[in-house]
């Protein structure tokens, strides 16, 4: 029984010891464990697998994937970062730039601005095509001139009072439809995701007049095309108390973990510690610094339970990108290798 329990622990838990992490690698392959059938079984996988969406807000998606291995979960994370396409500014035609921001710096900053446009509506631009057509290009214009405010008080030194348009924000970028784009996208609202990205500062007499072409690209090519600010995951923490912890030790134990992880219950007048919500813990491993406590707790992570947090740059089709592109991308990659 003890042998089976330790084998289960090997298979299902990543254990955090005092000086290192044990059982990191996946070992449940056929032949490694006598008595276990580890061959791939789609039906068994489908029964065990589930997805729970914890939080889906404007710009953040947090969900749990249970029953999947690190290799696949990591592949999804890599695809989200590098291979899900978005639209971003690629070519900047500078008609007039008398600001102190150099042309190339301005162009670089414009490229990094996230654009709210569904990349599935556009095609990739053909290699070598300099002009761009209406099916692969989105055009924006930024035309702004700073002028002095004649109404300002004489002694004022506040630029907001003295000048008009001295701060160039992303909200000043306007969509210029190409070709038949007005008919193709009659109710589309192509603009930067955030209105308040400061692009440049101007003073009276300075002007920026540029035309921008957005194309469809992927993060592998340039990070500006990555749809996520970040895509990360962590394994579900699993904290077990090996022996009952009482009184002062319980108080110390509670302080060793993140707030909310350990709760103290009053049982027959004695304070007893109990693991309330291991999920909240960030595993600082403070408990190993206390001689009396370090052998009473086992810190581990559940090997196939992934808590994924994805922070999006583009609000449009946030979860749509996820579902449409991410999973099917890995599938498509696998498919293209089929002989």
């Amino acid at each position: 029984m003890a042998a089976k329990r330790s084998m289960d622990e090997l298979r299902e838990r990543v254990v955090l010891g005092e000086f290192g992490v044990r059982n990191v690698h996946t070992t449940d392959f056929p032949g490694n464990y006598p008595g276990y059938d580890d061959a791939w079984d789609q039906r068994r996988f489908e029964e065990a697998f589930r997805v729970d969406v914890v939080r889906e807000e404007d710009g953040v998606l947090e969900f749990d994937m249970v029953g999947i291995d690190a290799a696949i979960a990591n592949a999804f994370r890599r695809i989200l970062l590098a291979e899900v396409p978005t639209m971003a500014v690629e070519k900047v035609f500078v008609y007039n730039n008398t600001s102190i921001v150099q042309d190339e710096i301005l162009a670089h900053r414009l490229g990094l601005i996230p654009i709210r446009a569904d990349p599935r509506l556009f095609e990739y631009r053909n290699q070598g095509d300099e002009e761009g057509t209406e099916i692969d290009t989105l055009q924006f214009q930024l035309k702004i001139k700073c002028s002095r405010n004649p109404q300002a008080a004489k002694e004022s030194s506040d630029p907001n009072e003295l000048y008009f348009n001295h701060k160039v924000y992303s909200k000043h970028m306007t969509w210029v439809p190409l070709g038949n784009q007005t008919d193709l996208f009659p109710d589309a609202d192509f603009r930067p995701v955030h209105d308040d990205i400061l692009i440049a500062l101007l003073r009276p007499g300075q002007e920026i007049d540029v035309l921008m072409h957005c194309v469809k690209g992927i993060g592998k090519d340039h990070a500006k095309f990555s749809p996520v600010a970040t895509a990360s995951y962590r394994l579900l923490p699993d904290i077990t108390l090996l022996q009952p912890v009482e009184d002062e030790a319980a108080e110390t134990l509670q302080k060793c973990f993140s707030p909310g992880v350990i709760e103290i219950q009053n049982i027959k007048g004695k304070k007893v510690a109990r693991v309330a919500n291991a999920r909240l813990d960030t595993f600082s491993r403070e408990v190993f610094r206390h001689e009396g406590l370090k052998n009473l707790v086992r810190l581990a992570r559940v090997r196939n339970h992934y808590i994924s947090a994805k922070v999006w740059l583009a609000r449009s089709t946030a979860s749509g990108k996820m579902r449409g592109k991410c999973w099917s991308h890995l599938q498509a990659e696998a498919a293209q290798w089929q002989c």
Partner: protein
Amino acid sequence: MAESGERKAALEMVQADGTDGNCVTFVLHDEDHTLGNSLRYMVMKNPDVEFCGYCITHPSESKINFRIQTRGSLPAVEPFRKGLNDLMGVCQHVLDTFEVRLLPEELRSFLDQERQRTFDAESLIAFSGILCLTLV
């Protein structure tokens, strides 16, 4: 993909002389850990495979050497193909499960999109599966 162009020899098979097809190194061009590690996991789950591993030959080159050695006399291409199919199955299932978890209005817009795409067997099954779940 963004770089569409002539792709020469996306996949090569390298076999040592004297062996009979059950240990083969596949050279996959334009690939990295994304496909390498996930495919390695799926192929290792196959009980007929004695050895499976991959490496990136040099970080400046985007290609991987993917080696499979099988038990007995099974040709190495078989577990390779099975691994790819299993990987597609996993992705399809994850996609379906994820779809079902979304909010109703997202689901509606997804169904509209699905109707416009051409149906193949898999998406048809997924579509009807989701339809059943919404009716339940």
